[in-house]
C-alpha cells in the first residue's frame, strides 16, 4: 500500500521549516496550530519528517523527564533527541530532522529544540519570555512560569502579540530583534509572524504596587540566563550562547517591572 505524504512550510524568525507528515489528520491539526507562520517552501529549509504513531502503539520509556535528552551520534553526524512524547534525530549539516511522536506537542517541542540549535549559528536564541509590539515599540518580559508573562500580554490588548511564552531573539545588522513564535503559554494563542527591534527588557516582579527600576547589566544577565532555552550540554556552544546573551543585555536597557495585575503598569514603563 502506498503511504501518502503531506507537507507544509512555516517560517519562524526568518528560518524556513518544511514539515512532512504521513497522516492527514495530524497535518491539519498542525496547520491550524502554526497558521500564522505558514509560508512558501524555501531553499535552505529545515526539513522535518514526522511519523505519527498513535499513543497506544507508542509508549516511550522516558516519560516525566524535566528536559529533553540530547546525544550526538558522530557516525551519522546528527543529534539524537528524545522527550516525553517524541524521539528523533537532527542533522545540523543537512538540516534534516526525523521524529516519531504520539501527539502534536512532540513536534512542537522538537521544532523548539531544533531552532535553539540552529539559531545560535545565526546569533539568536529562544527565551522564556513574553514579547509584544505596542505603539510601534518592542517589549520583552522574560520569566519562568508564574512570573506574569501571560498576565502582561492579557493586560495589553492594544498590542501585537509576538508570544506569551517563548520569544525568539536574533541579532540582525548589529541590532537585536524579537520575532513572533507559535509557541504559546496560558494564552493558547500563537504570536504574529512579525518582528521588532528590542531596546528595553523588563523582568516582571509581581508586587503590591507598580514601579520600574533600572538594573545593572550584571543583574540583567543573571536574570536573563536562566530563561534562555538551550538543552544541549556542550560547553563550547554554551559559552557562545553566554557571550551572545551578554551582548544582548549590554545592548538593551534592563529593568525590573514591579507590577500589579492591572494595565496601569504601562504608565510606569512609558515614563522610562
Amino acid at each position: 500500500m502506498e503511504v501518502q505524504s503531506y507537507n507544509f512550510s512555516i517560517n519562524i524568525g526568518e528560518m524556513p521549516i518544511t514539515i512532512f507528515f504521513d497522516d492527514n489528520d495530524f497535518l491539519e491539526v498542525n496547520m491550524t496550530r502554526f497558521s500564522n507562520f505558514i509560508s512558501e517552501k524555501e531553499n535552505g529549509s529545515i526539513n522535518i519528517d514526522v511519523e505519527y504513531i498513535p499513543l497506544e502503539k507508542f509508549k516511550l520509556n522516558y516519560e516525566d523527564l524535566e528536559s529533553p535528552k540530547i546525544g550526538f551520534d558522530s557516525s551519522k553526524n546528527r543529534y539524537i533527541i528524545y522527550w516525553n512524547s517524541f524521539e528523533g534525530t537532527f542533522n545540523m549539516n543537512t538540516m534534516i530532522g526525523k521524529i516519531s511522536c504520539n501527539n502534536h506537542a512532540g513536534l512542537n517541542s522538537f521544532i523548539r529544540i531544533a531552532l535553539s540549535l540552529v539559531l545560535l549559528k545565526k546569533q539568536g536564541f529562544l527565551i522564556h519570555a513574553s514579547s509584544l509590539i505596542r505603539h510601534h515599540k518592542g517589549y520583552l518580559f522574560p520569566g519562568k512560569s508564574g512570573a506574569g508573562k501571560t498576565t502582561i500580554t492579557r493586560l495589553t490588548p492594544d498590542s501585537t502579540l509576538l508570544s506569551d511564552e517563548v520569544s525568539l531573539i536574533k541579532k540582525v545588522d548589529g541590532k537585536f530583534r524579537a520575532y513572533g513564535t507559535p509557541f504559546w503559554g496560558e494564552l493558547s494563542i500563537g504570536g504574529e509572524n512579525t518582528s521588532v527591534s528590542i531596546d528595553d527588557v523588563y523582568f516582571p516582579v509581581q508586587d503590591r504596587k507598580n514601579y520600574v527600576n533600572s538594573i545593572s547589566i550584571i543583574l540583567g544577565l543573571e536574570k536573563l540566563l536562566p530563561n534562555v532555552i538551550f538543552y544541549l550540554n556542550d560547553l563550547k556552544l554554551e559559552k557562545e550562547l553566554f557571550d551572545l546573551c551578554f551582548e544582548f543585555i549590554s545592548y538593551v536597557s534592563p529593568y525590573e517591572l514591579h507590577f500589579l495585575p492591572e494595565p496601569d503598569f504601562w504608565r510606569f514603563i512609558d515614563d522610562e
Partner: protein, 97 residues
Amino acid sequence: MNDCIIKNDEKIAYRVIEDKTLVVNLENSTFHTLNPIATIIWNNLDGKTPITTIAKNISKEFDIDFETAQKDCLEFINDLIEKGLIILCSNQAEEIK
C-alpha cells in the same frame, strides 16, 4: 610561593562588568555574582600572582590589615574551589592549607 591557581576556563563563563563579576558554572548552570573585593581577587587568579600578593593588594586598596585580607582571600578561594570555578595546583595547595 609558586603560582598555580587558574580559572576553570573549560567549565565556566564569566564577565567582569565595572567592579563586579558574574561567573557561570556551565556544568551545573549555577550563577555567582562577585562583589568588588572578590572581583579583584578573581582578576588576579591568573596562575601567576601568589595569594600573598593578592592579599597585600587587597590590604592596601581597602585599608584592612594583611592578616584579615589573607584570611578572607583564602576563604574565598576555598569557596571557589568547592564550586568548581577555579583549579588549584599542588604547590599552591600548601599555601591554602
